[in-house]
């Protein structure tokens, strides 16, 4: 979804102008991208800087809001009103427009809904139900993979999964709603938190109403249900940025640890809900596709809903790497190589969108840190070992091939592609794939200088930034090259701000959620993620992902 907009974003960035009117159809993505690059790349006239950058942020928010409202099928008048408001308002006046919108929201809708939800004990009923222990096999229709002969795309499989989803989703939604209801009252009154609450409450209502209406028995029932889920999924696309903004605004009313517990739980549950919903939708879509066309392309053969049964991490890494490199080129003018080694022909069963999100997020950090560290250390093509002290011994003692210990960098190290710097002086990012019996480990090594000890403690915290803070810090970010590349602020404010299409996760606008979210994804199917900082050198990140196979039968997702 983002790729078609790339040229637009680039044009806008390169010319240093905002082309709102010319490319109106690409706006949500465009604005997200501009937002992502704002601190360094937007060349807005100085006096307009603060207003314009906040405009970018708010425009993005308003636009995505408009979109989600539209797809939600809510009051069409309001969505028209909003978009016309946006279109009419010159960029500089957008904040004002946005304020109007927000007030409009608050007055017209929420007060009424609050009362309804207060007296509604259906949520409580559902929330108290046990989650079903679902094996991945039943959910994903595995065991009926193409290899084993029968197709996962029979109507019966689809109906089963759909029935399961309709039973399970309200319970999970109800729990999310319950959790939100337990937030401090003042936090709940925040418009963003409230919108999220409202979204979940609406979804819960919609899905329970449909569940009470009738069983899913026929193909038509399934079509209807799938359409309903599609609507829900798209309306929830913006939840994470909204949560981020909401907690940013209410962070003084809750302590950091409580916010983290809430958000971890919220995001974890959300991944589960989306996974179930997307599974129903994609199985349904795949079946429709099968009915129309018997010939499957190679990728589709392996897809069971959202699960890929022959996922090659190396291919996905390559895709993510080139995407990230492209962004890095746009932002910095150069990017490091990404070297993939290890068991590059490894294959496993996993949810590609999850892995894609993880890889993009981590590669982004690695690539950015490398480039920034190069700048800081003065690494360039001319001094390939700019960060390395010249060895006082290298002249007198050449390494002997038979020697037990070889000093690297003295001999000919061009043999090793993980050491070779590219024409911009950037050492490569090394990605190593290892296949174990039931798991895949991916190690991402960069030479981006590492994370300082002080920042290490907070890298998995949710870090919130406000528009105001961004403006305050943007000067220093733009002015000083000395900011630490992995500094919590700079990393979360910069590249991770990309509105990357994260598949099941929806577009992720960064917002300081990058690393914590990545870890939640990595841990989702019983995997894990570890980050080791070698200060002065770089970071090593290990992602360990379990195969989604029969050994995971007992895993509750």
């Amino acid at each position: 979804m983002t790729s078609p907009a790339t040229p637009f974003a680039r044009i806008a960035l390169r010319q240093g102008q905002l082309h709102w009117q010319q490319h109106s159809h690409a706006r949500p993505v465009l604005s997200a991208r501009l937002w992502a690059f704002r601190p360094r790349q937007l060349h807005i006239p100085a006096e307009a800087n603060s207003a314009a950058s906040s405009t970018v942020v708010k425009t993005h928010r308003a636009l995505t809001h408009t979109f989600s409202t539209r797809t939600n099928g809510l009051i069409r008048d309001r969505s028209t009103l909003m978009s016309s408001l946006l279109q009419a308002a010159p960029a500089a006046h957008l904040p004002l427009a946005n304020t109007h919108l927000r007030q409009f929201h608050q007055h017209q809708q929420f007060e009424h809904d609050d009362v309804i939800s207060f007296y509604d004990d259906k949520v409580t009923q559902y929330a108290n139900q046990q989650l079903q222990t679902v094996t991945l096999k039943t959910l994903l229709g595995l065991g009926r993979t193409p290899e084993s002969g029968s197709s996962p795309h029979t109507l019966e499989t689809n109906l089963q999964v759909a029935r399961y989803a309709r039973q399970e989703l309200p319970v999970r939604l109800a729990r999310l709603i319950k959790a939100t209801q337990k937030l401090p009252f003042i936090v709940g009154t925040n418009p963003y938190i409230k919108s999220v609450y409202k979204l979940y409450y609406d979804s819960f209502q919609t899905i329970t109403n449909s569940a009470e209406a009738q069983e899913i028995r026929t193909k038509e029932d399934l079509d209807k249900f799938a359409a309903l889920l599609q609507g829900l999924v798209s309306s929830h696309a913006d939840v994470v940025p909204m949560l981020s903004q909401g907690f940013q605004e209410s962070k003084k009313y809750m302590n950091k640890a409580d916010i983290k517990v809430f958000l971890d739980g919220m995001i974890h549950a959300r991944i589960g809900i989306r996974l179930i919903a997307e599974q129903v939708i994609s199985l349904w879509e795949q079946r429709n596709h099968h009915l129309q066309d018997e010939a499957l392309d190679s990728k589709e053969q392996y897809m069971v809903g959202v699960v890929h049964t022959g996922l090659k991490p190396a291919e996905l890494i390559r895709t993510c790497a080139s995407f990230v490199q492209e962004l890095c080129d746009v932002n910095y003018g150069s990017s490091p190589e990404v070297v993939i080694n290890g068991q590059i022909d490894a294959k496993f069963t996993y949810v590609p969108v999850h892995l894609e999100y993880i890889l993009c997020e981590l590669l982004k950090n690695a690539v950015r840190a490398t480039v920034e560290h190069s700048k800081k250390m003065g690494r360039s093509a001319l001094t390939p070992h700019g960060d390395r002290k010249a060895s006082p011994y290298s002249a007198s003692s050449g390494s002997d091939a038979r020697s037990m210990v070889v000093i690297d960098g003295e001999g000919d190290d061009s043999m090793d592609e993980t050491k070779r710097v590219n024409e911009f002086g950037h050492p490569p990012v090394e990605v190593t794939i290892a296949q174990g019996d039931h798991e895949i480990t991916i190690r991402i090594r960069d030479q981006g200088g590492g994370i300082s000890r002080d920042n290490m403690e907070s890298i998995f915290d949710y870090s919130f930034t406000t528009v105001k803070n961004e403006n305050e810090s943007s000067d220093s970010l733009d002015a000083g090259d000395g900011d630490s590349p992995y500094g919590v602020d700079s990393i979360f404010k910069g590249v991770s701000r990309l509105a990357m299409q994260a598949g099941l996760g929806g577009p992720i606008a960064g917002l300081g959620f990058g690393l914590p979210l990545t870890r939640i994804y990595a841990q989702y199917f019983g995997g894990d993620m570890h980050l080791i900082s070698l200060q002065g050198h770089g970071c090593d990140v290990f992602i360990k992902l379990k195969q989604i196979d029969e050994t995971l039968d007992n895993l509750q997702i």
Binding site: S396, S403, M404, V406, D408, Q435, R443, R453, I532, Q535
Partner: protein
């Protein structure tokens, strides 16, 4: 040693412990040790003596109390009881010493402490065996906590004692004012990653080569990063860690290489990559191998003393362990056995007085010199070698003074039956030709280790048993982490199943972190 009979009095005598347990220990930093140890004067030495005199019983008392808090059944285990008893004896001896006012009193104090250090060489094997036998009576977490506390506290006491003994022997040597050479007691102020990795890699390679009976060459070690960083540290501590990591890596790579060869592969061993990274406050050694990774079954128990009870079974074969790198140099030697006494003599003569100011003390301490031979330096590096190096152009082999500790009476008698060359490790001839770029200070440092210890345990074991024990005591990794954490660093291991393992040993560069002896 005499066995205490736990009469009813023992319970009531326990009171004497109380005032000591109530005292908090006074943690020190490496930097404090360095500053204090510079320009040693008589009054400073006595101050140091009295600090050690007062601090040791307090630290011992805390650990004795830990023993007393174990479940009763555990305390009745003979191995645990033996250690408990040793600690009580040491506590009683130390707590009775009056204020040290003269150098003569200090000398006597040092002798006493040396004796205790040697008595306590049995502690690690005994504890490991005791814990192994008691694993059904204590939950694993408690075992790990107990062991970590014990080991840390043990390091802390040994550091204090050895530092003081070393300062004393430096002070007593005639030319102590001119012979600093970077050493402050047992602390070396010019530790250098290049030297450390080179030395430990050669030793680890030797251990691994021996374990295959010389049939297989260990993989190479490639070093990169800030290998010329400099920091102050206790060389024993960092070398123990790196030796363990490199040995493990080599073992895994060799095992995998052998397997692939058996399956028709080339059997070529991928090198082990050691990357040294210098941060603002820290130096990290990353040891990265392609040895196929740690077995998934073993991985959760890497750091545990209790999870795999069979793990310490090999401790039955040894009686003493100092947990220093020196003893690693000795054990593989048994199977090689070729260094002649003549070279020992030569090397001692060659040393000369100026370069070895307290050789005499060590001679007194040592009932016999244990030596490890390392490859000779390349000719061009002779000029660069550190003053005091024993490396001699005339010798084809490099001898490392292995000043063995005075032994316990019973083991002393047994080792005396073994010929001295037994304790000499020789790197095999092919390796001996390998030039080393720069010679380390291993000899110096080992001589400076006033109370150096050598396992030198089982004179009767066959060489194959020794190989086993050298390779698989099972305590290397947790012990390494205890060493790393002791001065505020840490040790992390991440394994990639089917590919290899990365270990990250982080140490604090400035030595300004307090000793870390409580978990």
């Amino acid at each position: 040693m005499s066995k205490r009979f736990y009469s009813p009095q023992h319970f009531y005598q326990n009171r004497v412990l109380d005032p000591y347990v109530q005292q908090a220990v006074s943690p020190i930093t490496l930097r404090q040790l360095v500053f204090f140890g510079r320009n040693m004067q008589e009054d400073k030495l006595l101050k140091s003596a009295n600090y050690v005199r007062q601090e040791l019983p307090v630290r011992l008392a805390h650990r004795i109390r830990d023993f007393q808090n174990l479940p009763f059944i555990v305390g009745t285990n003979p191995h645990i009881e033996l250690v408990y008893d040793l600690y009580w004896q040491a506590f009683e001896k130390l707590s009775k010493i009056p204020d040290i006012k003269t150098l003569e009193e200090n000398d006597r104090f040092c002798e006493l402490v040396k004796g205790l250090l040697n008595d306590h060489l049995v502690v690690i094997p005994q504890l490991a065996l005791g814990i192994m036998e008691c694993s059904k009576h204590i939950p694993p977490e408690q075992v790990d906590k107990f062991m970590n506390k014990m080991l840390r506290s043990r390091i802390s006491r040994r550091v204090l004692a050895e530092q003081h003994i070393s300062l004393t022997s430096n002070f007593n040597s005639p030319n102590h004012m001119v012979s600093d050479r970077g050493y402050i007691g047992i602390i070396y102020t010019h530790c250098n990653p290049r030297d450390i990795v080179e030395r430990t890699a050669i030793l680890a390679a030797e251990t691994c080569r021996q374990s295959t009976g010389g049939k297989m060459e260990p993989p190479k070690v490639i070093m990169d990063g800030n290998i010329d960083a400099e920091f102050s540290y206790i060389p024993d501590h960092i070398e123990y860690i790196l030796y363990e990591l490199l040995k493990n890596s080599m073992r895994f790579v060799m095992r995998r290489g052998a397997r692939s060869k058996a399956e028709g592969g080339t059997g070529e061993l991928p090198p082990i990559q050691v990357t040294v990274c210098e941060g603002d406050n820290e130096i990290v050694f990353r040891v990265s191998d392609k040895g196929g990774g740690i077995d998934p079954e073993m991985e959760p128990h890497l750091w545990s003393y209790a999870q795999s009870p069979a793990r310490f079974a090999n401790f039955e074969k040894i009686s003493k362990m100092a947990a220093t790198i020196q003893e690693q140099m000795v054990s593989p030697s048994r199977s090689v056995n070729s260094a002649p006494m003549a070279s020992t003599t030569v090397s001692r003569e060659e040393r000369g007085d100026t370069t070895d100011h307290h050789a005499a003390d060590l001679e007194n301490m040592n009932s016999q010199g244990n030596k490890v031979e390392l490859p000779p330096p390349p000719p061009e590096s002779f000029k660069n070698r550190r003053q005091g190096s024993m490396f001699d152009a005339g010798e084809t082999t490099l001898l490392l003074d292995k000043h063995a500790p005075p032994r316990l009476s019973e083991s002393g008698s047994s080792t005396s039956t073994a010929p001295a060359p037994e304790a000499i490790a020789v790197i095999d001839p092919s390796q001996a030709k390998t030039p080393l770029k720069k010679k380390g200070h291993l000899d110096i440092e080992s001589r400076h280790r006033a109370a150096a210890e050598v396992a030198a345990a089982t004179p009767t074991s066959s060489s194959s048993e020794l190989e086993d024990q050298a390779m698989h005591l099972g305590i290397g990794l947790p012990m390494s982490r205890v060493y790393a954490e002791y001065w505020g660093g840490d040790l992390k291991v991440f394994t990639m199943h089917g590919y290899g393992t990365d270990a990250y040993a982080k140490i604090c560069k400035f030595g300004n972190i307090h000793e870390n002896f409580d978990v």
